[in-house]
Amino acid sequence: MQSVAQYGRIVARALAAGIHNEFQLKSPFEKPKEPLHLVTGASGFSKSKSLTKSSQLSKWTFGDDAYFISRNKVADVIGVADGVGGWRNYGIDPSSFPRTLMLVCERMVREGHFVPQSPANIIAAGYSEMMEQKVLTLGSSTACVVSLHREEQTIYSANLGDSGFLVIRNGEIVHRSTEQQHYFNTPYQLAVAPPSRDGQWLSDSPEMAESSSFKVEDGDVLMLATDGLFDNLSEDMIVRSLRPLHTHKEEERIQSTAHSMAEHAYKLSLDPDYMSPFALSACDIGIDLRGELLKNLFLFSGGKPDDITCIIARVTYQSEIFL
């Protein structure tokens, strides 16, 4: 129970703040809320080094991962999609689905066919557009899209599966996405199955994507990545690598940070003795790493070899980007 005096103080403070704000807005020297932009850098590594794809096809892809970065009049949008590798056993290239999905999403953003406050719509619309193409792309992937509404200074996100993103402010993670899995190592995924064999395949609806929104400030660093990164680098490592970007805002620096982080994750993924986050969570859920369940698929300990994609985006005032 607070005393009347305390209440009085609260009211007085509120009034003062209100009046202060009023004066602030009317003051001729008031700087209007400036729109924020994303300055991005992207990098990654493919699990398999023996790719011979032409340069046109491998734009915005790393192995079976795909991503896009796009802008339009209202928002900056980034997205990743992690293709499910199991399709290879059925003669289907697992990278074509995520690549096509990301290209379609990029086109929709660029041409303004979306609502910036609803990246879940971009994912859903992109997915249904894939069905409108004469060439049917088979496969499945996760999808994670983050959109920064410049005027509102807010990021909106939609995530389906185990890719994800973090927002780091002053050395702390202030916002993150939640991983969606059916069971261990089987994330939620958008899928297009061979039409005549419907029903046998895991296929989640775009409506299952989890959405969130978060107000951002200048200096926030956003990292969007596929599970290849999160399974090999601990959050501490990530936060530490991203800390310098609070002050260093040049695009080259952001790009090189993305590259070094992806490279670090790649090296650790091949290290058999390193207790990666993946190995730790496997232990957590009681899977005996030397047991029957996993012997075909994973290393018994250490890193998790996987395609790695990492997009780093620093939230910056528009005026400060071109200095």
Binding site: E129, E132, Q133, K134, P195, S196
Partner: protein
């Protein structure tokens, strides 16, 4: 079309050559099509109107909207989703059971089948227009510019359309192309361009990636019109440089353009007023007696011979002939010359007032084509009602394709006055918001109804189906409001319209085997069925099998993007449908070469087969089939030709 691997390799090389040519220009000059610095170049801003499109209404793939914005496919050549694609191509839809019959008296220079109107961000005096064709070029037959200088009040008839270029449809080599013909010089700035297309000669769908308007803010000097860079691969592209316009428009190629531009101007303005003034003139002379004593050579000819001669003339010529003498006028007023009236070629000039002037001639009218009207002159409901009441009570065919003036009131008038209609075409009439008049007013003799891309609702369509037992041809493609009820609609058709011969269900995604079941169990006369992009249909429910077994008269069957079509379905078609002429199985993954060969062998009447994007069928297979079965036009579309 390539009938051997060598021909196909040539075909491929020719295309890749073109692509390389444009890419080299791009590298050297920084732009695929460099222009003089003082000119402004604008890319298309917004598509305002169009006649048809391949893609779904809410999609971004293969839709008319793609003509606007950057040309992102060019100079690649192929069937890409980012291009603007129309609904039809070639002669195939015209020769199908539901095909439209040509109107007698249509001027031969009018060849437009589709159109698209696109606006630009600024008003410019056009010096050059570039259309980026990325698949099957050569469809554009006319380019027009809109003059809104007199204000946008259509009532006062102050919107005029001027033809900037006109050509005849003809075959064109397959390669990416920037189509930029010599344009007529005009004395107004425009921001609205209309393209008219004819795709009769095309091997497959034409696809347009973008359009650019190049011009100046102030009237340019005439130099610009002559010294335009020619961008095609061959030095003098015969498709463009030698194209000149018909006698009416009075264009001459190249050098003469400057000198005769003055003449051209007057000829053109004359022409545009021609039709209405001719009609007016011929009407103003009231009923004149033919003096039987007068003996000119014309009066010696029997009336029937004169009538036969006049039946070869088109509308404009008849109007002109009527102005020559009273004898000819009497003959030209014979209503039996106007049993077919096609006003579509004159859409730039016809208004409802001009239609009123034609009433005396239209007393015996049977087939009336008012498609595309309304943009060249205002169409008042009152005038239309007068026209319909005076002439159209016995009207058999009424075509109102893409008529923006047709709204619920116009529809109501049509339904109430023209109650003997056999054929009603409302293709693309997107301004009709309310079809409920059809629930009360019926068209009991209706045999053919086209509702492509309209907003017809389920109840109104039900009312039509129930009251039109003679219905033979129905097109409800891309009717978005009908999609969720499509199976119920087929049930109704099965009950009430047993004489159904053709049905177009393009993009009715909710169509299931249940709905198809009602159809083939009841409509055994079915000759034509289009279930393109009806993705809910699954072959393992035996729907295609049963369709073939029950509809033995099938002549056209389009299963575009029905991805589960299997060999057993093709064999059933071959076994049960001896009259099959046109078959489309685009995009199926399950079909093998053997089954296709079986169809080619057994269906002796087959003339069209589309096996585009069928997994397991390669271009070389198609080449050898073309050689072995030369009477069948086999289509194999592609996206990236260097990969196939």
């Amino acid at each position: 079309m390539a009938t051997s691997p060598e021909e196909y390799a040539d075909f491929q090389a020719h295309i890749l050559n073109s692509v390389k040519h444009y890419r080299d220009i791009q590298k050297k000059e920084g732009d695929v099509s460099p222009i003089a610095e003082c000119l402004i170049r604008l890319e298309g801003h917004e598509v305002i109107d169009f006649s048809s499109q391949y893609g779904s209404e809410s999609s971004i793939s293969y839709v008319a909207y793609n003509l606007a914005g950057k040309a992102c496919v060019f100079p690649s050549y192929g069937d890409y989703t980012q291009a603007c694609v129309f609904r039809t191509y070639g002669p195939w839809w015209n020769i199908a059971p539901s095909g439209r019959i040509k109107y007698r008296g249509t001027p031969s220079e009018f060849a437009s089948e589709d159109f698209i109107e696109i606006s630009f961000a600024e008003y410019l005096y056009p010096v050059r227009i570039e259309v980026y064709e990325t698949y099957n070029p050569g469809a554009i037959v006319r380019i027009l510019a809109c003059d809104r200088a007199g204000g946008t009040d259509a009532d006062k008839g102050q919107i005029t359309w001027v033809t900037l270029w006109r050509g005849q449809p003809k075959p064109c080599k397959q390669r990416p192309r920037i189509f930029a013909p010599h344009l007529k010089k005009i004395n107004f700035a425009t921001n609205l361009i209309r393209l008219e297309l004819n795709h009769h000669h095309l091997d497959y769908y034409t696809e347009l990636d973008g359009i650019k308007l190049i011009g100046t803010k102030t009237p340019p000097c005439s130099d610009f019109y002559i010294h335009q860079p020619v961008l095609s691969v061959d030095d003098a592209d015969p498709d463009i440089t030698f194209e000149f316009c018909e006698r009416d428009e009075g264009f001459r190629k190249g050098d003469h353009q400057q000198e005769t531009s003055q003449d051209n101007q007057s000829i053109i303005t004359n022409n545009q007023e021609n039709l209405s003034s001719e009609v007016q003139l011929s009407n103003s002379m009231a009923y004149v007696f033919i003096d039987a004593e007068e003996s000119s050579f014309f009066t010696l000819l029997p009336k029937e011979i004169v009538h036969l001669i006049l039946s070869y003339l088109d509308l404009q010529d008849l109007c002109r002939l009527a102005q020559t003498c009273s004898h000819m006028k009497a003959h030209c007023y014979d209503p039996y010359l106007y049993t077919d009236l096609n006003l579509q070629p004159f859409w730039t000039q016809v208004s409802s007032s001009s239609m009123l002037l034609m009433i005396p001639k239209c007393l015996r009218i049977q087939r009336l084509n008012l498609s595309w009207l309304g943009k060249g002159g205002h169409m008042f409901l009152a005038h239309l009602i007068t026209f319909f009441e005076n002439c159209c009570q016995e009207l058999g065919t009424l075509e109102l394709c893409c008529c923006n003036f047709v709204d619920s009131s116009v529809l109501k008038s049509v339904a109430s006055i023209c109650c003997n209609l056999l054929d009603l075409n409302l293709l693309g009439c997107t301004n009709i918001d309310d079809f409920s008049c059809l629930r009360i007013l019926s068209l009991p003799k209706l045999r053919k109804l086209n509702l492509y891309r309209t907003k017809i609702d389920y109840s109104s369509l039900m009312a039509v189906i129930r009251s039109s037992p003679d219905l033979e041809h129905l097109n409800i493609g891309s009717c978005q409001l009908l999609n969720s009820y499509i199976n119920a609609i087929l049930m109704e058709l099965g009950s009430f319209c047993k004489k159904l011969k053709s049905l177009d269900l393009w993009r009715m995604k909710a169509l299931s085997d249940e709905g198809l079941d009602y159809l083939y169990n009841n409509c055994h006369e079915l000759q034509e069925l289009d279930v393109g992009w009806c993705v809910e249909l699954k072959s393992d429910k035996d729907c295609y099998l049963n369709l073939a077994k029950n509809c033995k008269n099938l002549r056209k069957l389009f299963l575009t993007a029905n991805r589960t079509v299997r060999d057993v379905d093709l064999r059933a078609i071959a076994l049960n449908c001896p009259f099959m002429e046109q078959l489309d199985i685009l995009g199926t993954r399950e079909v093998t070469k053997d089954a296709i060969v079986h169809v080619l062998e057994t269906c002796k009447n087959l003339i069209f087969l589309d096996v585009s994007f069928c997994l397991g069928i390669s271009p070389s297979d198609v080449c050898s089939w073309r050689a072995s079965y030369p009477h069948v036009s086999i289509k194999k579309s592609f996206q990236n030709i260097s990969i196939t």
